[in-house]
């Protein structure tokens, strides 16, 4: 649940805390992935924190988000519990998906989180569908899809935005342009100067904002939310940002220079927001240090929780395929119950 904005001092401090939490969570996720404790692969959000937090601050707690393969930041910004997230990354039964999803599939529909997604460009149609439910039931919500610069080339993204704009659905499409679709730079994947230019094709507003500036992201999403909730249809927002790590952990990153990385780090979103809050006397250096220490403790607790949590019982592999049981799967589940699956 998102229960903060950027309107009051407390809100702004909460937003900064979430940005720090994301960075700490993903720093540690990278660490435990490198150690081999986290299986599969992880895509880290470090560098892009202002986009996720600025966006979720502008949304209402009940609003939906559809996320991407780089979803940890969206989850924390939306208010998901780092303990359950970390447990999921570690493949534990107490994780958000009981260990069935992992990093790329964390979801919590009740908190409005429609899922991280391993398929590039698959989130926007889901957000259009959520917006359809909202519109049909006349609910006071909107649905926002995060997508990457790479996903913007996908056909189903076009279909989703076209449908949402044709039906004036309460949706927002937010492109996190982190400059690379996997290892290929954005200009090699698109013919437009700005990815938000594609909004013209749908006759909806398209804006590009500085994704390293949380306020710019917040204001753009706020505007988009107002429009969506008024029944005026979707907005396409492009937030220009940068990921400090590779596409995935272990990526050699031979496609970019250290200088380029440093240029973006010089504009770091957390540093910038922190400096602004200090400027406004809303935060002191000592208070920041304290906040950072608390965040580190939160994530250390999450890791401890994940470490201590139980692995799922192998038998659980047969659960959750359907709302009921089917004999086809029950046959295997029964064998596993009686002999641990040896006769499979």
């Amino acid at each position: 649940m998102t229960d903060y904005t950027l309107e009051t001092e407390d809100d702004r401090l909460e937003a900064l805390r979430r940005m720090l939490t994301i960075r700490e969570f993903d720093t540690k996720a990278g660490h435990y992935f490198a150690d081999g404790e986290i299986p599969g692969f992880v895509h880290l959000y470090i560098g892009e924190e202002a986009v996720g937090v600025g966006t979720c601050a502008a949304l209402d707690p009940d609003d939906y988000i559809a996320s991407t393969h780089r979803g940890h930041g969206h989850c924390i910004a939306k208010g998901l519990d780092p303990d359950l997230m970390m447990a999921e990354l570690f493949g534990k039964a107490d994780g958000y998906c009981n260990g069935k999803g992992g990093s790329m599939h964390i979801a919590d529909i009740d908190s409005g989180m429609l899922g991280a997604n391993g398929i590039v460009g698959a989130g926007p149609p889901l957000a259009t569908g959520a917006a359809l439910s909202i519109s049909h039931q006349d609910r006071d919500q909107v649905a926002l899809a995060f997508l990457g610069d790479g996903a913007t080339a996908q056909g189903q993204v076009h279909e989703a935005i076209n449908q949402a704009s044709t039906w004036d659905l309460p949706a927002i499409f937010l492109i996190e342009n982190n400059q690379y679709g996997e290892a290929t730079p954005v200009e090699k994947q698109h013919n437009v100067d700005q990815l938000s230019d594609t909004a013209q094709a749908y006759d909806i507003p398209g804006v590009t904002v500085d994704g390293m500036d949380i306020t710019a992201v917040y204001e753009a999403v706020q505007e988009g939310r107002k429009r969506a909730a008024n029944g005026d249809g979707p907005t396409l927002i492009e937030a220009e940002t940068y990921r400090y790590h590779g596409h995935y952990e272990g990526d050699e990153q031979n496609y970019r220079t250290d200088e380029e990385l440093q240029q973006w780090k010089d504009r770091d979103a957390i540093d910038a927001f922190k400096a602004r809050l200090i400027d406004r006397d809303e935060l002191s250096e000592a208070e920041f240090e304290e906040m950072q220490a608390e965040v580190e403790e939160t994530i250390a607790d999450a890791i401890e929780f994940a470490h201590d949590a139980e692995l799922p019982h192998p038998q659980e592999a047969y659960d959750d395929m359907f709302s009921d049981t089917v004999p086809e799967i029950e046959k295997f589940a029964n064998r596993a119950r009686t002999d641990g699956g040896d006769s499979r």
């Binding site: 009981n98 069935k100 979801a107 529909i109 569908g129 049909h136 359907f322």
Partner: protein, 334 residues
């Protein structure tokens, strides 16, 4: 259950498969305003194959929506809507178009509940027409239900009678899981007795014994159910043929099929999908697993001979499985 037992004591009306599906849709739209029909030309136009008829006039745009010709987009929207409180019924005019929307089907619709540890419902229904016989050529005549039956996380039904067409449509819409209803377009005009009870459903996972017999079991689907019944009538006196409408492909009612095979010892599987690696093979595998020692002859397959559906009539008739094929298969093993 036998078809007759199921209809006993029910008030019925004679109607076509098309009317039966439409009645099922109408009753569910009426019963639950969160049921949303969407698809290409399903609204004001009434559907290219006229199934949705005047539902748009009755229920309005809020419940019967015309979509852009963008199958990935609207199937994906149906998935998103199903996860957030509504019950979409999306129509894929021709099942061949499933290829366009397959990403959302295989990676989102089928997997979300499982990947999320059971923390979402996915009450989405996909209606899709299948089958050759009208010269619609390869991209509008496919029978692809095996793909869906094969893919974990999806349920698939394929009615062969008007009663099942209504009952399965309603069961699909009421299910909290993704259910694909495969409608063979050549039987839309086929008539049958259909229960008028608004809560009549055909449970997903139950086959129907359409005709009882002693010598050979024909497990058929869709159009081949009716054609097998005609063959059975023609052979009566010589061969006693039991005809089962599988109705539900996944989950499959193995028990009813095996029970019949234990009685007859001989079996023919008649399904319009291509014969290799498919629906026939699955039914036969289960039959031999459960009733190997009841078998008196090799089980026969009747299906499309691994070609696409050609356009020209003599070509299409050559490959389209039919009653004659069912009869030949029966005669081979009795």
């Amino acid at each position: 259950m036998t078809a007759q037992a199921e209809l006993d004591g029910q008030e019925t009306e004679t109607m076509t498969v098309r009317e039966a599906i439409r009645q099922g849709l109408r009753e569910e739209l009426e019963r639950d305003e969160d049921v949303l029909i969407m698809g290409e030309d399903v609204g004001a136009f009434g559907g290219v194959l006229e199934v949705t008829g005047n539902l748009y006039e009755e229920f309005g745009e809020e419940q019967v929506r015309d979509t852009p010709i963008a199958e990935a987009g609207y199937v994906g929207a149906a998935v998103g809507a199903a996860a957030t409180g509504t019950r979409p019924v999306a129509e894929l005019m021709f099942s061949d178009f499933m290829g366009v929307s397959m990403e959302q089907i295989m990676n989102q619709m089928a997997k979300m509940r499982y990947m999320f540890g059971g923390k979402t419902e996915m009450p989405v229904t996909i209606r899709a027409t299948e089958g050759g016989g009208m010269g619609a050529a390869s991209q509008h005549s496919g029978t692809v239900h095996t793909w869906i039956s094969h893919f974990p996380g999806l349920k698939a039904v394929a009615p062969g009678t008007a009663a099942a067409a209504k009952g399965l449509t309603k069961a699909a819409i009421r299910s909290d899981d993704p259910v694909f209803v495969f409608e063979n377009k050549m039987i839309y005009e086929q008539k049958g007795e259909v229960p008028t009870d608004e809560d009549y459903i055909t449970p997903i996972g139950e086959a129907s014994v359409e005709r009882e017999g002693e010598d050979v079991t024909v497990v058929a689907t869709q159009r081949l159910v009716g054609e097998s019944l005609t063959v059975a009538d023609g052979l009566s006196g010589d061969v006693s043929v039991e005809v089962i409408d599988a109705q539900s492909l996944y989950p499959l009612d193995t028990e009813t099929i095996v029970e019949s095979l234990r009685k007859t010892g001989r079996m023919v599987v008649a399904d319009e999908s291509p014969v290799s690696y498919g629906t026939h093979a699955e039914i036969i595998a289960r039959a031999q697993e459960e009733a190997f020692f009841s078998l008196d002859a090799p089980i026969q397959r009747v299906g499309t001979p691994d070609t696409h559906m050609p356009f020209s009539t003599p070509l299409e008739q050559e490959v389209l499985p039919d009653g004659e094929g069912v009869q030949n298969a029966i005669e081979k093993i009795v």
